[in-house]
């Protein structure tokens, strides 16, 4: 990884963290409502995966702000969406869980656990059919690996040798349920073994994630067929803003925080790429400024007009 890319990943991670902290603050202030799922702690995976899977289509879940921004969405447009504003990426219709930008080959944003996986399979079929080589990446949590949609997708992708990268972001919890209580083992890659090659990485280490995803995409581009990648991660916050998060111990959380992806990356920037305090500060300040801008933009953006309520139900209005 060259220095520029390392800096970029670091910057987007810091930006993501700052963005989430601001979102949290504005949720508590009442500017944002509904379900808000913060990605704090998981930025190492979210940013590196998006950077590594540069070309190709991406599908993900409701815990998506950091991925959306790393993919290229404007923090302003994302924050405005959280604020429910007309200038939001989904014009205030979707909210936190529904960010889409086909121009960036980013397809959300699904609030149904596992629901996006069959969509990603179909997209991968289409890309193969169209002769495009970059493939599709679908990201989901450990909780999604117990649902039928996930398994049907493994089977179809394998039978059809589709250019699809399955990525399980295993943070060990589905809301309050620890994965080992509802699945027979902790690592879900095992479920994919009958169907495809599997890879396991430390999701708290952005560089490892980046390299693994690059490697997987390269294989896919070479016609290898589907691959399953599992990244062990950890969310520092509750599942969503309404989760009291009393089912995990402080120690467990502290162990996670000790491997913080941003801190690891910062250390690497210093040691490997020779960045000093100032260079780091500049990046941090730039990220903070971007988030401040985003909040200011969102706060002053327009409310959608009530007359536009029925926009985009259909392409063609009728009846």
């Amino acid at each position: 990884m060259n220095k520029l890319l390392a800096e970029e990943i670091y910057y987007d991670m810091v930006l993501g963290r700052q963005f989430e902290l601001a979102a949290k603050e504005h949720y508590m202030a009442g500017d944002i409502a509904g379900f808000l799922h913060l990605d704090i702690g998981q930025e190492g995976f979210s940013v590196a995966a998006m950077k590594a899977f540069e070309k190709g289509d991406v599908f993900t879940t409701y815990r998506e702000h950091v991925m959306a921004i790393a993919r290229g969405m404007e923090p302003k447009a994302v924050m405005a969406e959280l604020f429910g504003k007309e200038e939001g990426v989904s014009r205030g219709r979707g909210g936190s869980m529904h960010l889409f930008e086909p121009a960036l080959f980013f397809y959300g944003g699904d609030a149904i656990v596992g629901g996006q996986i069959p969509n990603a399979v179909g997209c991968a079929y289409a890309r193969k059919f169209q002769g495009s080589e970059d493939g599709v990446m679908v990201v989901f949590g450990d909780g999604a690996t117990n649902g039928g949609a996930f398994f049907e997708s493994l089977n179809i992708a394998s039978a059809q040798k589709l250019p699809l990268l399955f990525v399980c972001e295993n943070n060990r919890y589905a809301i309050g349920t620890e994965i080992t209580r509802v699945a027979p083992f902790e690592r879900q890659a095992k479920k994919a073994e009958p169907y495809m090659v599997t890879m396991e990485v430390d999701g708290m280490d952005a560089v490892t994630v980046y390299e693994a995803v690059r490697e997987a995409q390269t294989l896919i581009q070479q016609g290898h067929g589907p691959i399953f990648l599992e990244a062990m991660t950890c969310r520092y916050e509750g599942h969503s803003m309404s989760d009291p998060d009393i089912y995990r111990s402080k120690e467990e959380l502290n162990i996670c925080k000790g491997k913080d992806a941003i801190e690891q990356m910062e250390a690497r920037l210093r040691s490997k790429y020779g960045l000093g305090d100032e260079a780091i500060s500049v990046m941090r300040e730039r990220a903070e400024a971007a988030v401040d801008d985003a909040v200011a933009f969102a706060a002053s953006a327009q409310e959608p007009a009530v007359e536009t309520l029925a926009d985009n139900v259909f392409v063609e209005r009728r009846g």
Binding site: G94, F100, E152, F314, G319
Partner: protein, 325 residues
């Protein structure tokens, strides 16, 4: 030509002109479809465009959605409506919502073909009708082909539309014969006046249109009145203009559907009439529908569970004579 041949022809024609059209479902390829609707197409268009899927309905619709996102125009076949329940998450949570939630950034030009209804003794898990559920979902168009000509034109229109369409077929109609006017311009969203008449408006769709038509001579003879028979064709949106003109003329409305009376789709039409046409109605509307029971295997019971030409005629005669419904 047969209804299934009309459907086949519609798919064939659109596939010929648009290479982004793909068909997917169980046994739609090599087997030609369990009702032979896609017969012969795999030989013409290959297995990449006629995709035999595993028995995984959630994926059939879910994959079709992803294909549509990527720029294809998929036609997904569900073998029998009951199995579509396994795909309801994709049909209801995804297919009609992506466009709205993304403020129009995502468009899903796709069709789900949906064979349904009480066939012959297939019992409770293979005999249902789900139009009442599908029509309750904003973001879906729901067409119901009760006629061969309409089947051809409406399926083509559905395949060419940029909105997601559920295209309902009735399993007993596949071998129905009819003429197709290939040059006609058919608006798939317009109701079809199957028979004009001045006295009683009878609204129906799918196979019940035929059963109503079979009942009409008896009704007209017994009552000395003329029936106007309307095939709704588009169940969502409904062509209320055609209904309104008819109700204004006849002062009455009867809705005939195969589905169970409780919860059945016909309530929508009667409720519309009560709200909007109240002052045009000379007598209470009448809903004729199936009984509130799962469909039994035995043929006598099966027929007792749904309207038949005989029961339709008897019910309408009794109602018109003021002997209640």
């Amino acid at each position: 030509m047969l209804y299934r041949e009309a459907l086949n022809r519609a798919i064939d024609e659109v596939m010929a002109i648009d290479e982004t059209v793909v068909v997917l479902g169980e046994d739609v390829g090599r087997y030609g479809g369990s009702y032979r609707v896609t017969e012969g197409l795999v030989a013409k268009y290959g297995e990449a465009r006629l995709i035999d899927t595993p028995i995984a309905e959630l994926s059939i619709v879910g994959n079709a959605i992803g294909m549509a996102m990527a720029g294809l125009r998929p036609v997904a076949e569900i073998m029998t409506a009951n199995f579509a329940l396994l795909a309801f998450d994709q049909i209801i949570n995804h297919m009609p919502k992506y466009r709205y939630m993304s403020a129009g950034k995502i468009t899903l030009p796709m069709v789900v073909r949906f064979p349904q209804g009480v066939s012959r003794q297939l019992a409770a898990q293979h005999s249902e009708s789900y139009e009442q559920m599908l029509c309750a979902v904003p973001g879906l168009r729901v067409l119901a082909a009760g006629d061969v000509n309409y089947a051809y034109h409406a399926l083509k229109a559905a395949m060419l539309s940029d909105d997601p369409v559920v295209f309902i077929e009735h399993e007993l109609l596949y071998t129905k014969k009819g003429e197709v006017d290939f040059d006609a311009e058919v608006d798939p969203f317009k109701a079809r006046v199957v028979k004009a008449g001045d006295d009683i408006t009878i609204v129906s769709y799918l196979k019940m249109v035929d059963d109503v038509m079979a009942a009409v001579p008896e009704i007209e003879k017994k009552l000395g009145k003329q029936c106007e028979v309307i095939d709704l064709c588009s169940l969502n949106p409904v062509d209320y203009d055609t209904l309104e003109a008819s109700v204004k003329k006849t002062g009455s409305i009867v809705v005939v559907e195969e589905d169970h009376k409780t919860g059945g789709y016909g309530a929508q039409i009667v409720s519309w009439a009560a709200e909007k046409m109240f002052y045009s109605l000379d007598e209470p509307p009448l809903r004729i529908a199936g009984e509130d029971v799962p469909i039994p295997y035995n043929r006598t019971l099966e027929l007792a569970a749904i309207p038949t030409p005989e029961s339709i005629a008897a019910r309408i005669v009794a109602w018109a004579e003021g002997n209640g419904a």
